[in-house]
Amino acid sequence: MFKEKIHLGLDLQGGTHLVLEIDTDKALETMLERTANDLKEALMDSKVRFRHLEKAQGATIALELTDADGKALDNVLRDKFPELEIASTKAREGSGQLVTLKINDKRAVELKKLTVEHSLETIRNRVDQFGIAEPEIIPEGENRIIVQLPGVKDPERAKNLIGKTALLEFKLVDEEHSLEDALRGNIPEGGVIAYGLRSDKSTGERGSAPYLLKDKALITGASLETAKVQIADRFGDVTVSLKFNSQGAIDFERITGENVRKRLAIVLDGVVHSAPVIQERISGGHAQISGNFTMEEARDLAIVLRAGALPAPVNVLEERTVGPSLGNDSIRQGIMATLIGGLLVVIFMVVYYRLSGAIADLALTMNIFLVLAILAAFKATLTLPGIAGLLLTIGLAVDANILIFERIREELRTGKTIRIALDTGYNLAFITIIDTHITGIVASMFLIIFGTGPIKGFAVTTIIGLLASLFTAVFITRVIFDYVTWNFNIKKLSI
């Protein structure tokens, strides 16, 4: 009955829960690598003499100036690189000095925050396009993202889709230097070795082939307008066709025009997908990636390219997948336990407190419906521990009634009239009831702050249950007692 209205947790409806960590340090380093290249050019432009400049360990740039005087460097930094600051300087023997540069702390924090925001948006885009009903993507802490995917049948595919960096780069193949030399460790300046997947069509075997590329990316996935799957030829080969945005199309035309007869490698996340020879200047901004994709792989690749690259690598820290059959079992068992536990309490109350117990039971029933209604209204999630929490609040809710009833019994024993006994009983028990509810709620709060998924559900239902019982067990029962004692001439309280 409540299934459509109450949002079930992944442990009940089945699905995948992922906790991802955005490697913001890595993003910072990548950024610094670019900055190092820019700085090199800027220093040369400004005729600042230096022997050596490279990105060093951690997020720093190591720079060796030829002159001991750092004034010229200071000027360049102040004018063009306000985000950089000098971390340390060390005089070199003879002349010159070693300077270590880093991104200033405020800017670094800002960049990391931006990286996480950007990642969150990218992941949200990808999940939306993947077509999952009601996914939840929530940032957590400094650099974590929780992704909840209800009813996902293939968690591995979802994980790949979400976690793929999808950095698409077009790089020239270096054909002036020898690949063999480079593989022996003799990599030319500005060069890089990348591997490509090569599969033998006849045997179907997959191996990897090395390429010597020029490190500088001529154009990247950031210039894409869209990407889609295409069946390329009559053999049914699947490719992903790319369309650059207007600036991207202009750049691509210039790049291909300048490099006719050279090989242009299409690199995705560091892996060369293909390296075709540029036959002629390509205008119109279209390109395609081929590489023995299955239809599914191609579809997912198109999604990640459309949604854009992640600004930093993503690590999966936690992954929990529950199959729908286990979820159904849990629902069945949870409901069973709740019904039996609830029934035991209800019977106990009637046997022990007679009609008063029945009034408490009525309030208890209202409490359960109230909790479910609040869960539905606030779109809170009901988990298996949440059902347990609901059951526990049944036990706790009658606690308030027991407190009141025991007090009333005590007062009646001292010979007080029913009305006075009711008044005193409720009044004296009330403060204690407040106490017990506050402590219960406070303890559960700590679970919310701490909690993940299912346990948070436990804390939430417990808190709602306690609040609801304050209303039902105290207020509702009081109203019923007052109504009965005012309207009927009760000689003896059934308690």
């Binding site: 968690p155 994980k159 690590n315 999966v316 820290l317 936690e318 992954e319 929990r320 997948t321 529950v322 199959g323 059959s325 286990l326 849990s330 068992q333 949870g334 069973m336 336990a337 709740t338 039996i340 536990g341 609830g342 035991l344 309490v345 106990f348 109350m349 046997v351 022990y352 407190y353 298996l384 521990p385 059951l391 526990l392 049944i394 036990g395 706790l396 009658v398 606690d399 027991i402 025991e406 019994r409 005590e410 024993r413 204690t432 106490d435 017990t436 402590t439 219960g440 406070v442 303890a443 559960s444 700590f446 679970l447 702050i449 701490f450 299912p454 436990f458 804390a459 417990t462 308690i495």
Partner: protein, 304 residues
């Protein structure tokens, strides 16, 4: 005549038996700590230690040994295999399988070879070591903070010695529940932690009720000895203490029996906690209050 488990005029001598209660509690605490040490510390679940849990249900009769044989010479060779219901098993390993393909090669394929397709993987949980360490830190923090919050609340509502009595009772409950979990060789998971925190919130309830009554009676009978007032208060609230614990116990028992294997450990911890929490609100909290009173008297006498 209404039903009464505890007769109204009851006057059991609780305070007189405090000595035995102290011995009992201390032995339980020593036993609990002893068991945890004997078992080489707590047995942390993947939530805290990192690792993987795989729950598999077979459609035919299969034993844990058969599964172990099937998984020989895979990465799951040294995993723990635990029966988890009818032909249902939990496989645990400290390795975090971040890649489903590795999992397939080490689990699905060997199982398919051994049992054909007669099984279903119903749950896979993988927690990285880094998250585990985080959870551990948060768990300790959560327990300590909830103790502190209760101390502050009870201290604020009553006075410091009452608060301290309440908190020591909670520490007592948590240690003994952890001990019981360790005796049963259950894994210490986030669910167990949730149970502990629930117990902290629950156990303080009974304590507050008793303390409230002690304070009320101290005001009413200022001349009476504190020991007698405490005893009277415990007796007056006894039926309420027992009854509410009983109703909560009934619900937890239902959870333990009918709630399914996934939540059984959690229900077990709650059952132990409810019983111990009830006992401790009667004995431990009151003992501490009395102890402080005697200490106060002793100091005053000492000063004279």
């Amino acid at each position: 005549m209404s039903m009464q488990l505890i007769k109204p005029g009851i006057n059991l001598d609780f305070v007189g038996k405090i000595k035995y209660a102290i011995i009992f509690s201390i032995s339980l605490i020593i036993l609990s700590i002893g068991f945890v040490i004997f078992h080489g510390g707590l047995n942390p679940g993947i939530d805290f230690a990192g690792g993987s849990i795989i729950q598999i249900k077979f459609n035919k009769d299969v034993s844990a040994d058969q599964i172990r044989t099937a998984l020989r010479s895979t990465k799951l060779e040294h995993s723990t295999i635990q029966q988890f219901g009818m032909n249902e098993f939990l496989i645990r390993t400290h390795e975090s399988f971040s890649d489903q393909q590795i999992l397939a090669a080490n689990l699905e394929q060997p199982l398919t070879t051994a049992f054909s397709k007669d099984f279903e993987i119903r749950r896979v949980e993988v927690v990285g070591a880094k998250v585990g360490a985080d959870f551990k830190r948060k768990a300790i923090l959560a327990v300590i903070l909830s103790w502190a919050a209760m101390l502050i609340y009870v201290g604020f509502r009553f006075e410091f010695r009452y608060g301290l009595g309440g908190i020591l009772a909670l520490v007592h409950d948590v240690i003994i529940t952890i001990g019981a979990v360790s005796v049963m060789k259950m894994e210490f998971t986030i669910s167990i932690l949730a149970a502990l925190i629930f117990i902290i919130g629950f156990s303080i309830n009974d304590t507050i009720v008793v303390l409230d009554r002690i304070r009320e009676n101290v005001k009413l009978n200022p001349k009476q000895k504190l020991g007698d007032v405490i005893n009277m208060s415990i007796n007056q609230t006894l039926s309420r203490t027992i009854l509410t614990s009983l109703t909560v116990f009934l619900t937890v028992l239902a959870l333990y029996i009918f709630g399914g294997a996934v939540i059984r450990d959690f229900a077990f911890a709650l059952m132990v906690g409810v019983v111990i929490g009830t006992y401790s609100s009667i004995y431990i909290a009151c003992t501490i209050v009395l102890f402080f009173q005697n200490l106060q008297i002793a100091t005053i006498k000492g000063k004279k």
